[in-house]
Amino acid sequence: MSVLLVLPIVLPLLAAALAIIAYNHRTLQRIVAVGALIAVVADSVFLLLAVERDGVQSVQMGGWPAPLGITLVVDMFSALMLVISMVTVLSVLIYAIGQPGVDQDQPVFHPVYLVMTAGVALSFTTGDLFNLFVAYEITLAASYVLITLGGRREQIRSGMTYIIINLLASTLFVVGIAWVYAATGTVNMADLAVKIAQLPSGTQTALSMFLLVVFGIKAAIFPLFFWLPDSYPTARMPVTAVFAGLLTKVGVYSIIRTQTLLFPQHRPSTILLVCAGLTMVIGVLGAIAQNDMKRILSFHIVSQIGYMILGLGLFSVAGVAGTVFFIFHQIPVKTALFLATGLVEQSTGSTALSKVGGMIRRTPLVAALFLLAALSLAGIPPLSGFVGKLGIIQAGLSAGEYAIIGVSLVVSLLTLFSMIKIWNGVFLGTAEDPTLRLAASEGETRLATPLLMRGATVALVGVTLAIALFAGTLFDLSERAAQGLLDPSAYIEKVLG
């Protein structure tokens, strides 16, 4: 059983090592990468089944008992995150292989992408605060390389912003770990859960707030999100897509994990709810102000993070379950939206609303894919986003938080507004840039997007539809995840034995 926990990290790393050795053999790299990720997807599904059947799973690296060695723990929350993110990562990899130019001139793409996968998997599974830092660094180092892959000028400029801010966050993380260690003398999270509870209450709150800021930067919550909309849109589309889907969610995951596990006595409900509201509103207003698909969608990442924090801020099983489900739906939906945007870019060469138009007549398939994902993002029933939002709304209203739920409903409407803005601008109407229209009508070959790219997008949209279809089962699992988060005694017992 313990093998299951290790494989999502070790397999991609092994594959990455092989891909580095096979530095200039593209086909070999592709085979290794796809093979490893398929295996990881299968593994994480098994892991989910195991957790579903037997409860929390854990393994001690090197066989050293808990506070000494590093523990990997998978509870329901981790397992759900693992499954959906691995599926997403696999789809994007296939998309990237299909897209001309992404891995062709870049021998580092595959190894780095695999390493990022391992980092994400490790972030979701580790039960050790310092190891979480290492996991972050693996993910981030890979993301630095991916976001600047190609080395174009605007990539370098925005990549700089991205890297500097994340480096600051990483440094702060080390500082935070140092303080946690100073106060408790341990870095194992289950051990910390026990020991932090004995600290003076002010110190507990201060530590919890500090870690909230550290992870808040990664999760892009207000007022720490500004780097995101500037840096994401410049990368290659598969990279942007996987970042959009995954990386901020790793931050949200860490916020949820640390706030529920480490600081059960100090629940910063008010602060989280205020942050959530501002994140939602400012994010969606930012989206409305933009005129480019990629930038609009990037601001929506921020806005949607607000919903996740909102559900957490309620600190009730219903609220956290809503958040878990919401994250689960958000990862593939957001990624699919960016992939569909990539298809538009691939066939027209632009994503500016003013330049593209009438895509529905040229590529009805892409239009349909985008519409489904966009409506799901906006929370239109019966798509998956609706279920997540409904869960959060119910939890909020039954907790009496009327104001914030009112805000979230307004934000829903504005989300719909900006999705329709994209739809009206890109898929309906006519292209206003005459040169572009000319290019489209003459070079019909340019319109045809590679089969793998379309296939990957279809698959991911299919995943979101499946989430909607099996929402009952998934919500059941989300509720169990929430129970496990709010009452972590099983987690602690499993780790400390």
Binding site: V3, V6, V10, L13, L14, I20, Y23, V59, M61, G63
Partner: protein, 150 residues
Amino acid sequence: MTQRRSVILDLCVQAEFHTLLLLSLYLLFAGHNQPGGGFAGGLVASCAFGLRYVAGGSSALSRSISIPATTFLGVGMLFAILTGCVSLLTGHEFLESAIFSADLMVLGTVKTSSVLFFDIGVYLVVLGMSLLLLQQLGGADGTDPDEVQP
């Protein structure tokens, strides 16, 4: 930089290069009991190659080592991870160590742990990293950044 080569420096570097490599290996193997380890060892070896670079420029560096630096990286990673996987295959946890004692006749009995292999992986990665850094930032690949200077 590459034109102004000093013979004395060259000779010193030749002598020191091998000494440093030996030192790095010592650090690697002694690390478990004395200060040192794969990291320190790898870094000392890197310094040896760094000296080569300072003395002879990037061409001397690429002459002194024919394997691509990326291979060092990959093999090092593979080494470290596979060490972990071996214990997995023998029914233990990932990265679980085992202690060996080997009787090397002349050299006496050596007691060591399987994590030595892990440390060798670390050593290789660190070495590969610094080689690649020197080659790339030092401009060994024909894409000498000097050419773009106005």
